[in-house]
């Protein structure tokens, strides 16, 4: 656990010093909300549409995270040095947690602005927060898998990432239905999807990571 904690602290430092993940994600999130609000005609701006804009904004801004986070570790030799001291699963989990935490922090900061701007009720805000957190848990897993696939395969990596990212489409659709009805069943469906995708991603990612140098 100590190694996992130290790895997580280090990954958070690197992600936010080198790639400014939290800052850039807040910018992307606020920008996507503003663009959606300008694009939508005033008479269709119900609370459902506003919440949907915020939810999809979180999903789309998360997808702007670079896909070379692990590739850069591979190129500067950091990954091979780390593999001597930590197991692949610990590396994968620490990277996942660092990504998730960065996304959740940026979401929490942005949602404050959104609530002020769109005047959501407390119930709507809490529901939105719950859905966004569940979506982020899943998107972080896909981003991590995309990053490792980008490092593992030497060619056609952009195509492979383009095949992984559409996996968030069910979340977009279920999230939209959940916001329309504000029913708890959809939250449980999203939770179920998370419970299937996150462990699978961990398993796949750690397998690819442990075989990264076997070519």
């Amino acid at each position: 656990m100590k190694i996992l904690y130290k790895l997580l602290k280090f990954e958070l430092l690197v992600y936010n010093r080198s790639y400014h993940l939290i800052r850039n994600n807040i910018y992307a999130l606020l920008l996507s909300s503003v663009v959606f609000s300008i694009a939508m005609p005033g008479d269709v701006m119900t609370n459902y549409i506003k919440m949907l804009m915020c939810f999809w904004g979180v999903v789309f801004s998360s997808l702007t995270i670079p896909h070379y986070l692990i590739k850069s570790d591979l190129q500067d030799g950091f990954l091979e040095t780390l593999l001597c001291s930590a197991s692949p699963i610990k590396i994968v989990v620490s990277k996942y947690l660092a990504l998730t935490l960065s996304l959740i922090i940026s979401m929490l900061i942005s949602i404050g602005f959104m609530v002020l701007f769109f005047s959501f009720s407390n119930k709507e805000t809490l529901y939105l927060l719950l859905l966004m957190t569940l979506a982020i848990l899943q998107i972080a897993a896909f981003i991590l898998l995309g990053n490792i696939v980008h490092s593992y395969f030497r060619s056609n990596t952009n195509l492979l990432i383009a095949l992984i990212l559409p996996l968030v489409i069910p979340t977009l659709i279920i999230g939209a239905s959940a916001l329309e009805t504000l029913r708890f069943d959809f939250v449980m469906i999203l939770l179920g999807i998370d419970m299937v995708t996150i462990p699978t991603t961990f398993f796949l990612s750690s397998y690819l990571l442990s075989n990264l140098y076997d070519f």
Partner: protein, 187 residues
Amino acid sequence: MISLYNLSHDINGKNLFSAISVSIFPSAIVKITGNNGSGKTTLLRILAGIQTQKSGTIFTNIDEVAYIGHNIAIKDDLTVLEHLEFWANITGDELMIPAAIRYMKIEDIIDDYCYSLSAGNKQKVAITRLLVSKAKIWILDEVDASLDSINIKLLKGLIEAKTSNGGIVIYSSHTEQLPYSFAIEIG
């Protein structure tokens, strides 16, 4: 102790080395020699447990390995101290950092970001990482490439001190400046 038995490896059908059998006992300094592309880095990675050999067996009773590869694992946006603290926490003890800094004479650059360091200083930071590690085995891949004669002497002293305490050092190098007990020629 590390024991290699019939170790062979190839990449895409091109044979790199075959049937290497050798036992490396504590206090040994082993030099891996060979031409460019002969498989020195691959052999060192296999010994470090980063890569898997195509055939053969490695027996070892030591888990902890400190490895410095061609790319020396330096993140440009972090300071030297942040690097050392991280590696000390992962592989060794933070209390060893001040002594390691003094030995490697990097007091002046300790708060500098790594993007501002020369190649030689980056190499020194990577070597300092060995000093804060508790690993019994050091695996070094052309670690002397960017070092001047003064720092080569420091590295030589480090290798001798490590092996005099029962450690094992395995390295590859194209120069003859570092000591060794025996060499393994591949390719």
